[in-house]
């Protein structure tokens, strides 16, 4: 199988990038004040907000990674999209309304508001930046993979294109344009994955619906066949599900979206719509994995399974149509990289700007800089680091990389947000201890997995999927240390709880 047609693919990718930039600069003219710049002046409706969340959330892992995983490893990989969706249900029932009502814009904002401590704020800042970078890495890697597969461009180019478009867009337009762009991106992505899927399904039926070609004894089509080739599939399945279900709430680009809801009720309704939008999208990627087993039982050497989605049309339908479909899919994939990378960049940059840069810049320049300038500098920083890392770190598979980011988020921010929203007894020391222990354990496991490669046996399973032990440990440490330090319970906890849980239509003192 040769290379995909270069011209169509380039046109599709260029089109997605240009439209993204155009919509972004249109938004720039609308965003006038600082408040507009950050959060769209909070005038975003739940429906558009939900589209934006969906657009932002459906990343390289969703668009390309799931199909590749299902193709390679079979049924067990369906837990990925299930987990990505269930994560929003967990977020909905545990923290959606309290997060919105806290009035926090970023995770560090929430940490500081709830625990009344600057130290916790700094800890959260470091974690947000770390998780954001960990999540940006596979987006940029995916972009490089896709551009290479479609056009034969060198490996460094795709990531660079995404990095440049994202910086231009985020730095120039801020949140309003991003909200508009993201809402648009969801529908672009859904169309780009659904329309070719229907065409390919049609081709499959007219071929007499042949069954997938599965090598004997791989048990590809059965559950628990060894998650991604690791041993201990039962443990790995549960641990993955936990990481995805509990990690969503701790992703840096998720909370920002809740701020743009007018109140807690709207935050819940937005989340409900998100669950529906994600569920619709995730019906499609596994189809590509299945059809891949039918039509492309063997990928050529050196071809990443993550590019299966882009290669499938050429293998299934006539040349002309195949090229058009491949181009549509490539465009959709780029929409996925751009939107997730934008959302992550936006939130990582926001945190870098607020917590790390602003005071230092102020001192360096004698306050001779505007808030927007500082934010723009932060944006560049937020993207350059993961881009460099994406060229250095050996790719471990898009969805695997993303699930590691989820594991770190679930081991740190999940205990903070859940205990912070529901337990009055959470003390500043307890929260800090939980963040440190959960963050250290999960990061160490991720680091060993990424840098040292696969480890055999139980240690490998435990390190490859740390969530099942690191999340309970982080919770336990938070609770035990809190119980031991009742004097460090924040003074205004009762009032904060009123703010987090009472409906906004009541006239109450919210601190």
């Amino acid at each position: 199988m040769g290379r995909l047609n270069t011209a169509y693919g380039v046109v599709a990718i260029a089109l997605v990038c240009l439209v993204t930039l155009a919509v972004g600069s249109f938004g720039l003219r609308l965003s006038r004040t600082t408040s507009d710049f950050y959060v769209a002046g909070r005038t975003v409706t739940p429906y558009r907000n939900a589209s934006a969340i969906g657009g932002e959330y459906l990343s390289a892992a969703s668009f390309l990674g799931i199909a590749g995983l299902v193709y390679t490893n079979g049924l067990d990989m369906l837990w990925f999209p299930v987990g990505y969706t269930v994560g929003y249900v967990v977020l909905l029932v545990l923290v959606a309304a309290p997060l919105r009502r806290s009035g926090a814009y970023t995770l560090p904002d929430f940490a500081e508001a709830r625990l009344e401590s600057l130290a916790i704020r700094r800890l959260s800042t470091i974690l947000v930046v770390g998780i954001g970078w960990l999540y940006l890495l596979p987006q940029l890697q995916g972009a490089s993979l896709a551009l290479e597969a479609v056009t034969g461009a060198p490996g460094w180019l795709g990531g660079l294109v995404v990095a440049v478009v994202v910086v231009a867009n985020v730095a120039a337009g801020g949140m309003r344009s991003i909200t508009l762009v993201q809402a648009l991106q969801y529908w672009v992505k859904l169309t780009a994955i659904a329309v070719p899927a229907f065409v390919l399904l049609g081709a499959w039926f007219s071929d007499g619906a042949p069954g997938p070609a599965i090598a004997r004894d791989t048990r590809w089509e059965e559950p628990l066949n060894g998650l991604a080739g690791q041993g201990h599939p039962v443990y790995a399945t549960y641990s993955l599900l936990l990481a995805l279900a509990l990690g969503t709430m701790g992703l840096p680009h998720v909370l920002v979206r809740f701020y743009t809801n007018p109140d807690g009720r709207a935050a819940r309704r937005t989340t409900l719509t998100v669950v529906a939008l994600l569920g619709t999208f995730y019906l499609f990627p596994p189809l590509y994995g299945l059809l891949g087993r039918v039509y492309l039982p063997q990928l050529p050497d050196g071809v990443a399974a993550d590019t299966l989605v882009l290669r499938l049309p050429m293998a299934m339908v006539s040349d002309g149509l195949g090229q058009v479909l491949a181009a549509v899919l490539a465009g959709g994939a780029f929409a996925a990289f751009l939107s997730t990378a934008s959302g992550l960049t936006m939130s990582v940059a926001g945190v870098i700007d607020q917590d790390l840069l602003r005071r230092r810049l102020g001192r360096l320049t004698g306050e001779d800089f505007s808030a927007a300038q500082g934010f723009r500098l932060a944006t560049v920083l937020a993207v350059v680091v993961p881009y460099v890392a994406s060229r250095v770190v050996e790719p471990v598979g898009l969805a695997t990389m993303v699930s590691l980011a989820f594991a770190v988020a679930a081991s740190t921010f999940c205990p903070l947000l859940v205990l912070g929203s529901w337990w009055r007894g959470l003390s500043t020391s307890g929260a800090a201890a939980g963040l440190v222990v959960g963050g250290t354990l999960a990061t160490a496991a991720v680091g060993i997995t990424v840098l040292a490669g696969p480890v055999p046996g139980w240690p490998g399973a435990l390190l490859g999927q740390p969530a099942a032990w690191s999340i309970p440990l982080a919770f336990a440490v938070s609770v035990i240390v809190s119980l031991a330090t009742p004097g460090r319970i924040p003074r205004h906890t009762a009032r904060t709880m009123v703010r987090l849980h009472t409906p906004e239509d009541l006239v109450l003192e919210r601190g």
Binding site: Y88, P223, T271, V507
Partner: protein
């Protein structure tokens, strides 16, 4: 200063002064919550408990439903290859059925939690503009 025997001065009644009488009614519960009185704390604890109970119930349902699947596959290996109209059941469930169920569960949660909040608002009273 006026003569106590004299009839009281006539007052022209121009309105029912409804707000004057309502003001003297017992203070609304919102003030108890603002002042963090015992009563206010009881109401707040009640609200949080009701919401948390609902959340945990939904989570338990999800954990049993989704978390039970791998367990089922382990305990009853026959379910791994079970088919429904030529489609393997595990595929049907994980690739399709999960999503509408998630939406229905999320919708149920949103409605119930809004109901809990509406009841709380009614009891505690004093809505904006109400």
């Amino acid at each position: 200063m006026s003569d106590p025997g004299a009839p009281p001065r006539r007052v022209r009644v121009t309105s029912t002064r409804r707000e004057a009488t309502t003001r003297s009614v017992a203070q609304p519960l919102t003030r108890d919550i603002d002042e963090q009185s015992n009563l206010g704390e009881v109401y707040m604890a009640g609200l949080m408990q009701a919401q948390l109970r609902l959340a945990l119930m939904v989570l338990a349902f999800g954990a049993a439903g989704l978390g039970g699947l791998p367990l089922l596959f382990v305990m009853v290996p026959a379910t791994r290859t079970l088919e429904f109209r030529a489609v393997p059941l595990p595929w049907l469930v994980l690739a399709f059925v999960v999503y509408p169920v998630a939406v229905v569960v999320a919708r149920y949660y949103v409605r119930q939690s809004e109901r809990i909040e509406a009841e709380f608002s009614d009891v505690v009273g004093r809505r904006w503009g109400g």
